[in-house]
């Protein structure tokens, strides 16, 4: 069940260019567990006057002992710019946890391929940890704009094979994540992907016959399914899905990108 909480920022640091990692202590933590990888928090910016809409940010990690979650966000506009200014001990008004994550309990997979692009990388980290916990072998392909944008490479490396690609080739492979899939030809039975829609299109096109889950992004209003801002056409009976409520994670075959 989604709750509204005031989380306390316990750490905030820039881990790559314009990319901030924050740890947030969540009150009444027990009532949220377990949090599924792929779920997100919907964050109020400031007093909520100038910024009328919350910002959806994926849960990048969960520390059940410390009762805190990790988020990683890139500063791309006025809201994330404000968010970057928050300091340790400041409070953030969150709706948590939102959406449906990757259904790892239901998935019978031995080898997983994780494909992340830019700010789509964060949720895959918590997913990778959960998969490894389950005994799944994990290979990750992470795409970033440039060397300066790369983050969490070692963290993913610690959980399995990790290939980094940058658009300009300034670090790791050069090109797009799909180029790396072709080059590396990883073996896997299920893929999990998160990133910009253009990347997800390329990924699902190149892996069209494979079982896979993708996590989608769309501009959101409510974040809870009430406003119909975040719909995506779907071959289901209703003709559409709501990304915030039915997703953000979908079976690749479930939605029409």
């Amino acid at each position: 069940m989604i709750k509204r909480v005031l989380a306390t920022i316990t750490s905030s640091r820039e881990i790559a260019l314009d990319t901030i990692e924050m740890n947030l202590a969540i009150p009444e933590f027990a009532s949220f567990s377990p949090i599924a990888p792929g779920q997100f928090v919907h964050i109020q910016i400031g007093s909520g006057v100038a910024h009328q809409l919350r910002r959806p940010i994926s849960i990048a990690d969960v520390d059940y002992e410390k009762q805190q979650i990790t988020i990683i966000f890139k500063v791309i506009g006025t809201g994330t710019e404000e968010l970057r200014k928050y300091r340790v001990q400041d409070q953030l008004d969150l709706l948590v946890p939102c959406g449906n994550g990757y259904p790892i309990e239901k998935i019978d997979s031995k080898k997983a391929l994780l494909i992340g692009g830019g700010i789509g990388v964060p949720p895959l980290y918590y997913l990778a940890k959960k998969l490894v916990d389950k005994g799944v072998e994990v290979t990750s392909i992470l795409g970033f704009q440039t060397k300066d944008h790369v983050f969490y490479e070692q963290a993913f490396q610690a959980l399995g094979d990790c290939h980094v690609v940058t658009n300009d080739g300034s670090y790791g492979y050069q090109g797009f994540v799909t180029n790396v899939i072709e080059t590396v030809q990883p073996t896997f039975d299920t893929f999990f992907s998160c990133g910009p829609t253009s990347m997800l299109k390329a990924v699902t096109n190149s892996l069209v016959d494979r079982e896979g889950y993708i996590s989608l992004e769309e501009r959101m209003g409510c974040g809870v399914g009430a406003c119909y801002a975040c719909v995506i056409p779907s071959p289901n009976e209703k003709g559409f899905k709501k990304i915030c409520q039915d997703g953000p994670v979908f079976l690749a075959s479930e939605v029409s990108l």
Partner: protein, 312 residues
């Protein structure tokens, strides 16, 4: 309780607070946050004759102290609303107001006729901010004759009171208000969103896939207050006010301007608990400003006031 209670045509409201159409779906999502029976009423998402998918995404954008939306009347169609959504809402002790939309007068009539067979709605909110496909897309709500005509025809079909929802995108909202009052409207709801737009500097294209959208939120509150104040002076049917409300103080300002009850839209997205929180705060705010009840405050901003037209 009677401090907050207010009676309007077809509506016995335990308090004057209700979520605005399109900002609360059919209530199911927010029922997970709190008991919907706390609300004065619920205005559900627009119903059309057939199911509609609405506009392409992106459908929302943020502006300073406001937001733009171009959802585009997405809804499962009136029949599904009656068979699937209304029964779920009937579990709560709260009057439901159905928002009726259409592209032709005939569609408005058909939707109203279908809803009239249901026992689960207390009133209709007639959404006239829709383009009339038969008249080259001119909005019903921007032409007094057209607004009156659709009001008359829907009123004839309806067995519950009809509240006409006014569009603020007009030169003279009082003229439209009078036209629909004369055509038999039982009440007014106002205001709908103002037509706005935002351009993305990176893509050099409008942010909304639909190019234009409706502006809502605190940014438009002074426009809503002005329009309600002006309409209150010229029509006698009750007004349900809306536009940028997020606090009990805002509610009181709308009551003083002449609204008898209010709806809260955009603020639900920021704070899913905004409606019950405002309901809880309202008695204290009424008291602080010296009002015994909601009824006591309605229209109290008008005394001694007269409307000057000159400005700037």
């Amino acid at each position: 309780m009677s401090q907050l209670a207010i009676e309007l045509p077809g509506l016995m409201l335990k308090n004057p607070i209700m979520p605005a159409s399109g900002c609360f779906g059919f209530g199911q999502e927010y029922s997970k946050f709190y008991d919907l029976s706390q609300l004065g009423a619920i205005i559900i998402k627009a119903a059309t004759e057939q199911a509609r998918f609405g506009n392409p995404t992106p459908r929302v954008a943020e502006t300073t102290a406001g937001m733009l939306n171009a959802i585009g009347l997405q809804n499962p169609g009136v029949e599904k609303i009656i068979t699937e959504e209304l029964p779920r809402l009937a579990n709560y002790n709260v009057p439901v107001i159905a928002n009726v939309a259409g592209s032709t007068i005939e569609e408005y009539e058909a939707v109203t006729e279908a809803l009239s067979k249901s026992n689960d709605i207390a009133a209709i909110e007639l959404n006239i901010s829709c383009p009339n496909v038969k008249q080259g897309g001119v909005q019903f709500g921007t032409d007094p004759a057209l607004a009156a005509e659709v009001t008359r025809r829907v009123k004839a079909m309806s067995n519950v009171p009809v509240y006409v929802k006014l569009s603020p995108n007009v030169t003279n909202i009082v003229m439209i208000a009078k036209a629909v009052e004369d055509a038999g409207a039982d009440g007014l709801t106002m205001i709908n969103t103002l037509t706005g737009m935002q351009i993305n500097l990176n893509t050099r294209r409008p942010v909304l896939a639909n190019t234009i959208g409706g502006l809502s939120g605190p940014a438009i509150k002074p426009l809503a207050i002005r329009m309600i104040y002006q309409v209150r002076q010229e029509v006698s049917i009750p007004i349900i006010g809306m536009g940028g409300i997020s606090t009990a103080e805002d509610v009181l300002e709308f009551l003083l301007a002449g609204a008898s009850a209010v709806a809260i839209g955009t603020a639900n997205f920021l704070n899913p608990f905004v409606c019950p929180e405002v309901i809880t705060a309202l008695p204290h705010v009424l008291e602080k400003y010296g009002f015994a009840s909601v009824a006591d405050a309605i229209g109290k901003g008008h005394e001694d006031a007269k409307l000057h037209l000159s400005r700037t």
